[in-house]
Each structure stands twice: as structure tokens, then as C-alpha cells.
């Protein structure tokens, strides 16, 4: 999926919502089996209910790896279930390694699983992202400034040149790709840095976690928007676990619609 197609989806659905499928068998509604089979049923129902309001689904790979072989199978089947032209599919894998290894991850997530995008950890620099950028119409979503407390340890360290580590990182990584094949992860909880973020990457799309469970507010993200939206806002726990009863899917759909309606207002202002 290219940027124009993604922006078309956002226009059509009047939404920039990404639903995070961080599906944990322990948290499944009582009537579903607490295994990979139950997880797959849950994911399919959530996808059906939220697809009209979401332009993207993000699969948190850790939750599938924690179920071993069956988890990987459920991951594959979940991805295959999402209509590829109606949603932007993100593997939230946060991979990052030397070139020959990054090439293997690129094969796994872009070719075999056929995701549109993967999240990338930039600590190891250039050669950890370039193998992903060789795939046409696929996206590398590089960690910029994350929403978690630990961001202080590396990302928010101040460099001798006056920049913070996250700014230097985003600037350098953006030189290896373009705003047509690279996005950045930017935490919703980091409002005090929004200006610095957009000054270093004025036109890149941002994937924004941290709205909902982590305390960030949707309306505060307005300053991060570009002329063509420029945002995918993720909500995981805040949507998929709204109800733990048999109505979990319709409750998730309603929550997604609430967020979509707020987003429509933001898109039209």
C-alpha cells in the first residue's frame, strides 16, 4: 500500500484509527478457549466489528510468539483474514539487527506474512533498516520517541549538538528512506516534544500509541497532523477489552466508532 492509497482509506473512512491486536489468551471472554484457537476467533470478531471505523490493524508479535507454533499459525491466519485493500496491516515487531539478519526479518514479515509495514528499532542504525526499504509499497515504522517511562534512558538523552537522541535518530534514519516508505513511532504521552518532532520530520506519517490505556488524549495530537493527516493512532487494550462478555465484539465496534467520530471532527477542522 502506498501513501496515496493509505490517505484515500483515511478519507473514505474519515478515520486514522489503528486497532491493536495485542491479544492475550488470558484476557479472552469466558466463552472462548484460552488458546490460539480462541485467540483467532476473538481476532476475527474484532476485525469484523471495527473494520468500518479503522484504517489499520497492528499485530503485536510478542503475544503470538508467546503461544509458540500455534501462535505463529494464528498470526498468519489473522493477517490473511484482514481485507488487504481496506486496512493497513502493521507487524509490531520492533526488529533491528545487522543487514543479513534484517533481510531475513524483511522476508518473514513482508513476503511470507505479507504485512504492509513493520516496526523497527533503530539502535543499531542504518543497516538495520535498509533491507526493509528495498520492498516496494512496504513501510518501515521506526521507533522515534516512545510513550513508555523508559524513554528517558536513551531516547531523551541530550547530545553534545543540542539535540536529543530521538531527534538525531529520526533525522538520520529519515535519510535512508523517504516519507513514502518510512514512518515513525511517536508516543501520545510526549506532547512537550511534539514541536521538536515535527521540526525534524515535518511530513512523515507517525504511528501513535499511548492513547487510552497509557494516558494520552486524542485531541492533543492535533499539532502532529500534516496536510494529508499524517497520523495513525493506535488503541489496543482500550478497544479490544472494553467488554469481557459475549458482546465483546460489538462493544469494541462501538468504542472504535466513538474514536472514529472524534477523528472525523479533527480531519475536518
Amino acid at each position: 500500500m502506498n501513501r496515496k492509497q493509505l490517505v484515500n482509506l483515511i478519507d473514505e473512512k474519515q478515520s486514522f484509527l489503528c486497532v491493536g491486536l495485542d491479544t492475550d489468551p488470558v484476557k479472552l471472554p469466558e466463552h472462548l478457549s484460552k488458546d490460539a484457537m480462541g485467540l483467532l476467533k476473538f481476532n476475527k470478531a474484532i476485525i469484523d466489528a471495527t473494520l468500518p471505523y479503522a484504517v489499520s490493524f497492528k499485530l503485536n508479535i510478542a503475544f503470538y510468539e508467546a503461544l509458540g507454533v500455534e501462535g505463529w499459525q494464528a498470526l498468519q491466519e489473522t493477517i490473511d483474514y484482514i481485507p488487504r485493500d481496506k486496512a493497513f496491516i502493521i507487524a509490531d515487531a520492533k526488529r533491528g539487527d545487522i543487514g543479513n539478519t534484517a533481510a531475513q526479518y524483511a522476508k518473514a514479515f513482508f513476503k511470507d506474512l505479507n504485512c504492509h509495514a513493520i516496526t523497527i528499532n533503530p539502535y543499531m542504525g542504518k543497516d538495520s533498516v535498509t533491507p526493509f526499504l528495498e520492498y516496494e509499497n512496504k513501510w518501515s515504522i521506526v521507533l522515534g520517541l516512545t510513550s513508555n517511562p523508559g524513554a528517558i534512558d536513551v531516547e531523551l538523552q541530550e547530545l553534545k549538538n543540542g539535540r536529543m537522541v530521538f531527534e538525531e535518530t529520526m533525522d538520520r534514519m529519515s535519510q535512508y528512506g523517504t516519507d513514502q516508505n518510512m514512518m515513525f513511532v511517536v508516543g501520545a504521552t510526549k506532547a512537550e516534544y511534539f514541536e521538536r518532532l515535527r521540526s525534524v520530520s515535518p511530513n512523515h506519517f507517525y504511528l501513535v500509541p499511548g492513547v487510552g490505556a497509557q494516558g494520552g488524549k486524542l485531541e492533543d495530537l492535533k499539532p502532529l497532523m500534516t496536510h494529508d493527516c499524517g497520523l495513525l493512532v493506535n488503541s489496543s487494550r482500550g478497544i479490544i477489552y472494553v467488554s469481557s462478555d459475549t458482546d465483546f465484539a460489538s462493544a469494541a465496534g462501538e468504542k472504535a466508532r466513538d474514536l472514529q467520530q472524534q477523528m472525523a471532527t479533527m480531519l475536518n477542522n
Copy 2:
């Protein structure tokens, strides 16, 4: 496996060699099938041939994920094949994410796959490592200064406080664990920084890739050694692909023995 047990293994085998199972089906000898089944046969033969000379095996998870469900199965079977008391088993996964996600990765690699250690990417800071440290006798091997050219983009940036990013990162991460449950990845190609590395983490074990294919030399690592060795030196391509014929395993064994003999000399000087 705790530090004492690891050091005992090093003493017994007179080796601090880690064999990297970055097994790529494309590179398998002609008589083996180019799939997960062939890969598993290859791994078992390499393990048998190198176990007398290696104290550790490192599985590069990317190569298994690139084979999907069958790859994950081969990963599990390879790990189960390694005698757990005769080798320290490392999942080279370079994971790093917020707490609830890191906890899922910890379950996947420590509980289900039963590895002794996992490599961790520290870009997101404290909460990306702490869930791993809760497991007893398991190790987090945190990226410090890596051997690849891209290290210049983030790791080698200079901070306002005079340190480089890798030094600040290692110092901060070391405060969340101990030298009994945390190691660091340090590239063999980065000799000019060895003094700075040991001044910030004098007693931690280092996992050192970059000897062989990436150009680092074994004898140059002497300044990194501690009183109880303090090193695991990894060789992947330099051992497992020495021969692409039916004698691949015995050729790998011979190469491993060569390295072990050099290591014995280093241990006794």
C-alpha cells in the same frame, strides 16, 4: 544457568566459544533439503560436532521466523536438542518493547522455549528489560556497542555529559540488573572503545560477535577479559559454512576446535 555454572563450563571445555546457528536454508549443503527439515538436520549435526569445543549456542531468530510455522518448530526442536547442562543457549532475538509486551517475549523465550538468555535492544529503556530480569537463572544480553557500520548512527553519538550513547545506555541498563543476570553485546570490530567499555561495566560478561566474517580478531579481545573470563565469542558463518559438502559437520567441528585451542591459550595466559 548461573554465572558460576557458566564459568565452570568455560573451565572444563577451556573455551568461551559460542556457535551461531544463523542457519539459512539457501546455504545448506546440496544433499540436505532446503527447508525447515533440512535446517534441523543441519543444526543437529553442527551441534554434535561442535559441542566439545563450544560452551554456547546462539540461535538467530530471524532465520527461523523467515520459515514461518515450520521455522518456529525447527527452532524449538533445535533448542530441545542442545544438552542444557553442557551449553548456554542464547535466543538472539534483540527484542525490546514496553512492559506488558516484554513480559510476553520473556514467556516465549525463557518459559516456553527454555533458553538461558535472550538478546535485548535497549532503545526504549528500563521497562523493556525489567520483565526479563524477573526470571531466575536467566540472562538478558543487552546491546551495548555493536559491530556493524550503522553503530555510528545512534550508539556512537556523543552526549552532552561527555559520554557516548552506548556508554550511558550500558551504565543505565546495568543499574536495572546485576552482572549475574545481565550481559552486554560488544562488537569485536570496536577495539578503540574496549577501555571505555570495561570502565563502564568492569565485571559483566560480554557476548562478542564480529570475529571472522565481520573482520574482528580473537587475540585482540584479551583486554576485554575479566578474572573469570567474562567473554562469550560468537562465530556463525565462520564455523557453520566452512564446507558446503557432506563433510560440513566435521569441517565445522575442526574450525571450532581451532578456535577453542586459541581460547585455551588466552585463558591460561
